[in-house]
């Protein structure tokens, strides 16, 4: 099967993730959507790696996972602390600073 389709899938996932970021209110979900985007990237890397027949893409995929993990650590820490002080994880509630 033509690997290009995986690219289309990756693009689709990426878009879904992005859309999620734009429309979902809950910080956690938004964050999940970002993760989804990252994984879409991974898929793209792997696919290209296969197309080009070199391993760089796959290596990068591993790096990405690590980075994503790190992001999870930091992100969750922040979101949780926000949630504890506001009792709400809605990104829209966090809008004291504007204009």
């Amino acid at each position: 099967m033509n690997p290009v389709n995986y690219l289309y899938l990756a693009a689709l996932l990426f878009t879904i993730g992005a859309t999620g970021v734009l429309i979902r209110r809950n910080a956690i979900v938004v964050f999940m959507c970002v993760e989804l985007m990252l994984n879409a990237c991974n898929l793209a890397f792997v696919t290209f790696s296969r197309m080009h027949g070199n391993l760089d893409g796959q290596v990068i995929a591993f790096f990405t996972m690590v980075v994503a993990a790190a992001e999870v650590v930091v992100g969750l820490a922040i979101i949780v602390s926000l949630f504890r002080s506001r009792h709400s994880a809605s990104v829209d509630d966090a809008s004291l600073m504007k204009l």
Binding site: F14, G53, L82
Partner: protein
Amino acid sequence: MSASAVHSLWTTAADPISKIEAPKIEYAQLSPTLIVIGAAIVGILVEAFVPRKSRYYVQMFVSVVALAAAFAAVVGLATRGYGTTKAGIAAMGAIAVDGPALFLQGTILLAGLVGLFTFAERRLDPEAHGNRVDSFAAQAASVPGSDSEKAAVRAGFTTTEVFPLLLFAISGMLVFPSANDLLTLFVALEVFSLPLYLLCALARRKRLLSQEAAVKYFLLGAFASAFTLFGIALLYGYAGSVSYGTIAQVVDGTVKNVDPALADTMGNDVLLLIGAAMIVMGLLFKVGAVPFHMWTPDVYQGAPTPVTGFMAAATKVAAFGALLRLLYVVLPGLRWDWRPVMMGVAVVTMLGGAVVAITQTDIKRLLAYSSIAHAGFILAGVIAMTPDGVSSVLFYLGAYSFVTIGAFAVVTLVRDAGGEATHLSKWAGLGRRSPLVAAVFAVFLLAFAGIPLTSGFAGKFAVFKAAAEGGAGALVVVGVISSAIAAFFYIRVIVLMFFSEPRPDGPTVAVPSPLTMTAIGVGVAVTLVLGVAPQYFLDLANQAGVFVR
């Protein structure tokens, strides 16, 4: 995709993976980064093992030594000619050690050092239960206003973790402008972003704002880096490699031994264009260019002011460094595509930043928008696409970062019962109460406004000149207009400080420790020196103006 390619894939995969030689690492060339990272790790160990009372001093010592040593290393490399003649690629092509890299690393390290001083300031807030406190939360984990926090304050806790975090961020920033492949770029990006996200959340006063800033910064930052990553993926797909050199060759079409797969993707410029655009977008987000700027005012306002100052200065330096390398090393063959687009971005950034700043009422937000406008000015230099362009941008970044740190350091001094008095109306008549502080701040504002005899003017002149010579005269005109608009709100602040009557409930100006004084002093000194006698630094930037490829 042709079957032969697929077949070849299988066969290569089947080969026994035996001949992987150990990577060869030029530790000397990488020493600045390594020193900082090492110090950061030491910092973590300190957190783990050193008793709480003495952590602050140990951390201070470690960080200062590390940054100083790293800077010394940079200077050493530069003097040995790694900036010019011996410039080259290190760490298996991952890191470039050349003029721009060293210049920017030096700038970042100095900015980091000065920023560190503002981090370590412990005289401004009134003592809590007999303990000197800095501008960071007593215990980040505890809910603001909760008993646990009170307990933490009473116990005299302080978040000394900020020092390792700062060092991690700096290490990431050191790598960012010298990254020579897209993977390193991405990793560095995250390495310096994540600590900053955390630092933003750690304000002692106004924690809610601080946390909100952190969340916004984090989510949007992650969003942006996702775009970057996807861009990287596409570019990898296009060129079959993430190394700058190879990509550049592919873009120019000068690549040797084109295998069929590559030939296939090479033809497909859409991958290239979209990929490049997405990566650039990620970098523009970091420099805070319109329309990717919207996080800037909120984060600048919410974050602890020392962090804001450091972030505003160092992030810009690092991000512009990376942007320069990307555009000058990887995508020069594409300049006819991206130049007009970037011009557009520069124009809206300059005008947008200047215009919106006019009606700001919070000093930190004001400076945020001003930094956006300045990003626009620097972009004008980036677009020049000439060696002069590079050196002018380098000079501008150097000049700008110290003014910024100094300005935010002054902001930390003006306080009232609720901590820093950042609302502009509170600054009325400051010039009467404490002329010196007001005068210093006025100097910074004038530098931002680009009045002659300040570093701001020299930098602005440099980038505009480069842009004009690069054939972007229109940008110069827009730049001039937006500087005129920008002048308006800088002057407004000066009017407020000097010509309006002080308010009875006005803020007091805290007398800082030598730390902040040094930060401000360095800021003033650099501002004036670069304004009156910029020659030496311009030469430096000129020599450092060539990228290795």
